[in-house]
Symmetry: C2
Subunit: 339 residues, 2 copies
DNA sequence: CTGAAAGCGCTTACAG
DNA sequence: CTGAAAGCGCTTACAG
C-alpha cells in the first residue's frame, strides 16, 4: 500500500503539499492540487485513518455493547444505531457480550485502548468493576434500554416500561376483567421489576385485590411462559385474563391454551409486551405493547453524536412511549364485573 | 489520558524501559518491571492501540459486512463470527449494509483506510466496482453465505442449497407426492436459483413432469408466500404438496391454508427452508431444511483467522450440509401415486 | 539491563 | 503557495 511519501516522491513534491491537496486546504495552487489528486487516483492511494486519528485525537469510531445480537429485540436497536452513526461518518465497533460479565469489562478496556470516541451500552451486569471502569472513562457514553448506575452521570434512552405495563392492565380492566393473572420475567432485571410494578399499581389504584396466586415470576422463554400459564390455571381460580410481561412468555401461555382447548379470547384474554414480529402471525395475533425498537437505537445514536460534537459528558435522557397494539387475544370479560 | 511519557517521567526512566516492562520483554530487571507496572496501575494507564497498530502493521480488527442485522438469519451468523473472533483477540467492526450498494462500497473503503486485518463479507451487490475494489485489497477476505465472483480468488463458507433443496423435494416424493408446487424466491439471487434448481432436477431425475403452473417466483415476504399459495391453488390442479424456498414463504403459504380451511398436513403438505425459530411454534411446526447458521459464522471466522495468521490470500472454501427437520406439515399423499 | 534515536504515516504551525 | 520540522504515542534495533 502506498503512503503519502510515495505520492510525494512520485511528484517531486513535499508531503505537506500532498497533504494539503487531499484535505482541501485553501493554500494550494489549483494546478498542483489537480496533479496530486491524479497521482493519488492512479496509485490507488488511501490515507491511513490510524495516522490521522493519532493527530486529530479522534477515531470516528464508537463502540456498541449488546447482550445478544441474535435476539431480534437487540438487533433492531443495533440497526437503528448503525444507521444514524454511519450516516454521521462513524464506524460502529460492535461487541456481543453473550451475557457474560467478563466480556463487558473487556469491551470497555478495548474501547479505551482503541480510543473510541463514544460508547453506546446495554450492559447486563452493572457490578462494581464495571461502574468504576465506566466512571473513569473520558468519552461520552449513553445507556440504551438500560438505566445507568446512580453514581454515573450518564444519559439513557429507554422506554417507559412502567407506563406501558399500566396501560396493558388498564386495557384488561376496561374490558371488564378483574381476575388478571401475571406472568413475569425474573425479578432481578430492572425491566422485569418495572413491568411488575405497573401491574401491581394499576390493580391497586382501582382497589382490585392483588391475588398472590395470580402472580408467577416465570422467566424469559416460551417454555417458562407455558409453565407459568399452567401454574396460574391450577392455582388462580376465576382468572379471565393474563398479562405476560413479555411476548415470549405470552406466546408460551397461548401455547398452553391452544393445547388445552381453552379458547382465546372467548375464555381467556392475554396481553404481551414487546410486539415481536411473530406476534402478528396469523395463529397468534397477540395483543401487546409495542416499543419503538429501531427508534430507540436511532435516538441513542443521535444523543451520542451530539455529546461527541459538543464534548459534553452528559445530556438529557430520553424516555420513550410505548403503544398498545390491539390484536385478537382479548375480549370483554364474560362474567362481567365480578369484583 | 496519560501516555507512556507520563509514566516514564513519573519514574525517571526512559520510555523504552517502560515499553519493555509492559510488553514483557526479557531484557529488563524484575525490580524495574515491578515498579513500572505499579505506576501504570496507579496512573490508570492504557497503551494506545493506535500507536501500536502503526508500528506492528496490524490492527487486530476485522470488518463484518452484513446485509441486514435485524434479520435473524444474519444475526445468528454475526454472533458466530463475533464469538470466535473476539476469543482470538480481534475486534469486529460491523457494517449493516441495509441492502444498499453504495454502503457496501463505502465499507470497503473504510476497511482499507482503517487498516483492518481481514474481512468477512455477505454482499448483496457484486457489481464491477465492488469486485475491482475487492481485487486490489491486500488483506484476506472470506465470503459468508455468498459465493465470490469467479475473478476473485477468495474462499467462501456457505451451505449447499442445491442439495438441501433436493432433499426436501425427495422427502415429499418419498411420501408419495407427485404434484408438488414450488414457491420461490426472486430468481435474481444465487440462493434462489440454487434452490429452484434442486427442485427442478429432483423432479426430472424421477421422471416427474415439471408443471409450469406449479411454479411461482414469489419473493421473500409472508405476504408473497400467501399470494404464491393462492396462485398455485388456483392454477395447479391436483397439487398435494408445496416446497417453499424459504420459511417465510412457507409460513405465508400456511397462513393461506389456515384461512381457507385447507388442513395441513391432511390435505396439503408443505416444506420450507431455513429453520427459523418461529417455524417451531406450536401453531406452525413447519417441516423445513435447517442451515447451521451460527456454525457458518464460526467457520468463516476460523478460516479468516487462519488466513490472517499465515498471511495467505486464499484458502479452501467450506460447503456445509443442511439437515431436514421433520415436523408436522407433511403427510403421506392421500391419492397415493397418481403420476 | 537501560537509554537515545529512528520510524510508523500522517498534519500543522512556522518560515520563506 | 511550498517545504522543513516537530509531533501524535508507541516499538525496536543499536549502543553502551
Amino acid at each position: 500500500m502506498p503512503t503519502i511519501k510515495d505520492i510525494a516522491k512520485q511528484l517531486g513534491m513535499s508531503v505537506s503539499t500532498v497533504s494539503r491537496a487531499m484535505n482541501n486546504h485553501p493554500d494550494i495552487k489549483p494546478e498542483t492540487k489537480r496533479k496530486v489528486l491524479q497521482v493519488i487516483e492512479q496509485l490507488n492511494y488511501t490515507p491511513s485513518a490510524l495516522a490521522r486519528s493519532m493527530i486529530h485525537r479522534k477515531t470516528l469510531s464508537v463502540g456498541l455493547m449488546m447482550p445478544d445480537i441474535s435476539d431480534p429485540f437487540f438487533s433492531a436497536m443495533a440497526q437503528g444505531v448503525e444507521e444514524v452513526l454511519s450516516d454521521g461518518g462513524y464506524q460502529v465497533v460492535y461487541g456481543n457480550m453473550s451475557r457474560r460479565p467478563d466480556k463487558e469489562l473487556r469491551f470497555l478496556v478495548s474501547a479505551v485502548e482503541r480510543k473510541m470516541d463514544g460508547l453506546i451500552v446495554t450492559p447486563d451486569f452493572m457490578d462494581e468493576d464495571f461502574v468504576s471502569m465506566l466512571k473513569r472513562l473520558k468519552i461520552p457514553v449513553v445507556f440504551l434500554r438500560r438505566r445507568p448506575h446512580p453514581e454515573l452521570n450518564m444519559p439513557f434512552v429507554d422506554v417507559d416500561h412502567y407506563k406501558g405495563s399500566c396501560r396493558a392492565v388498564e386495557y384488561l380492566l376496561e374490558l371488564g376483567h378483574r381476575r388478571i393473572g401475571f406472568i413475569g420475567m425474573p425479578e432481578t432485571s430492572f425491566t422485569g421489576r418495572e413491568r411488575y410494578r405497573g401491574y401491581l399499581d394499576t390493580l391497586k389504584s382501582r382497589n382490585i385485590p392483588v391475588a398472590p396466586h395470580g402472580i408467577v415470576h416465570a422467566g424469559r422463554t416460551f417454555k417458562q411462559g407455558y409453565q407459568g400459564m399452567e401454574k396460574l390455571m391450577a392455582e388462580y381460580s376465576g382468572m379471565t385474563a393474563v398479562f405476560a410481561a413479555n411476548d415470549v412468555l405470552g406466546i408460551g401461555a397461548l401455547e398452553w391454551t391452544a393445547k388445552h382447548g381453552l379458547s382465546v379470547p372467548e375464555q381467556m384474554s392475554i396481553v404481551g409486551f414487546d410486539n415481536l414480529e411473530m406476534t402478528d402471525l396469523h395463529w397468534i395475533k397477540l395483543t401487546t405493547v409495542a416499543q419503538p425498537r429501531m427508534e430507540m437505537g436511532r435516538k441513542a445514536a443521535e444523543l451520542l453524536m451530539e455529546m461527541m460534537k459538543e464534548e459534553k459528558q452528559t445530556a438529557e435522557s430520553i424516555l420513550m412511549d410505548t403503544e398498545l397494539v390491539v390484536r385478537h387475544t382479548c375480549a370483554i370479560a364474560r362474567e362481567g364485573i365480578i369484583s
